[in-house]
């Protein structure tokens, strides 16, 4: 079997969204996954987005890795959202390029590990375009500049369809990362393209373009821009009657 990226690019809807609340983006992803699974949606979707400040918890939790009180976050209006992706706690904010591939992995020929590595590769190549040499670490997934973390990763797979994805720190304010042990790792320093290059005026639009170009190449996708109205039509309420947010807080942690 040839690597998916070496085959003819597969058509893929592109949702290039400047800024969207995390929970709305999550609902959108879940609706798209459902549509892709049932066949209502006949092709993959890639969402590029930035989020207003938010902390998210992975399936194995991560509240214990929050080092400030939830009241402080509440006062600042920063929500904490538990979700179904792999990984632990992390932060999203404006200036971070977030990519959500809604890809039917088996039909695209992707093995899950290879897919996670491909998402890391997108961030590594995007960083290289700005002169930042980043690498992966097979023990601690994500993308690193020496021992500083530049990009995070965490996906979920529902009926073979991926969602969640990667987050590359471009010009994002790094201070909120100090309020957690990111990804459950103690003493990890986060970094950004702006910090590594010393360019505070780094052009976020250029970062987004670069991320899209590498995503298309590495995932083997042929982007077809879709308008937000189309996406909202896909995001009709699903049959899921339980609260997707709080009901899925995992009670068990890994021993």
């Amino acid at each position: 079997m040839t690597a998916p990226s070496e085959r003819k690019p597969r058509p893929c809807r592109l949702l290039d969204i400047p800024l969207l609340d995390y929970r709305e983006a999550l609902e959108l992803q879940r609706s798209l996954v459902d549509a892709r699974h049932t066949g209502r949606l006949d092709r993959d979707v890639f969402i590029l987005v930035e989020h207003p400040p938010v902390f998210t918890l992975g399936r194995r939790g991560g509240l214990e890795n929050l080092t400030v009180s939830q009241e402080i976050l509440q006062r600042r209006g920063i929500p904490v959202v538990p979700i179904e992706r792999g990984g632990n706690i992390t932060y999203h904010g404006p200036g971070q390029a977030v990519g959500y591939p809604i890809v039917h992995l088996p039909s695209a020929g992707w093995k899950v590990v290879a897919f996670v590595e491909a998402l890391e590769e997108i961030m590594i190549r995007a960083a290289a375009d700005f002169g930042v040499s980043a690498r992966r670490d097979v023990r601690n997934r994500g993308v690193w500049v020496q021992d500083r973390k530049l990009g995070s990763i965490g996906i979920a797979v529902r009926h073979g369809v991926s969602f969640h994805g990667f987050a590359l720190n471009a010009v994002v304010n790094l201070e909120p990362f100090d309020w957690v042990n990111p990804c459950g790792l103690r003493g990890v320093q986060m970094t950004s393209l702006a910090r590594e290059t010393g360019r505070r005026d780094l052009d976020m639009a250029a970062v987004r373009r670069t991320v899209l170009a590498h995503t298309a190449r590495i995932l083997g996708l042929d982007f077809q821009p879709a308008d937000p109205a189309w996406a909202l039509r896909q995001a009709q309420p699903t049959t899921d009657t339980t609260s997707p947010i709080m009901d899925h807080l995992p009670q068990r942690t890994r021993s």
């Binding site: 992706r85 792999g86 039909s107």
Partner: protein, 135 residues
Amino acid sequence: MKEIHELNLAEDVRYTQDHEWARLEGDTVVVGISDFAQDQLGEVVYVELPQVGDTFDKGEEFGSVESVKAVSELYMPVSGEVVAVNEELEGAPDLVNKEPYGAGWMIRVKPEDPAQMDSLLDKDAYLEHLKGLES
């Protein structure tokens, strides 16, 4: 990724389109994931299983497997009550990779309607399903 002809597809189980298998043993059904699924996932680092006594409908999510930063959901092949879970997986989740049809089993279910087993795929039908995925 294994080629389809390299896959180990057990004869004594039935399969779902989502790559779980189900084996009728007496009046209970044992559930795990197929060789295709474990190969697709890569090294399994964590398996989240339900509690004994939980009941689920056919197709409902009963747990998840986590490989590298990826959580994949698991679905019930038949409706029923969980009567046992494989506690070995807590300390040795890689059993799912090593022995997907044996020591890597996940849950044992008391089926609500054993006839639901007939709606699952036999080995040949599952093989056809796998071939169809590669289009």
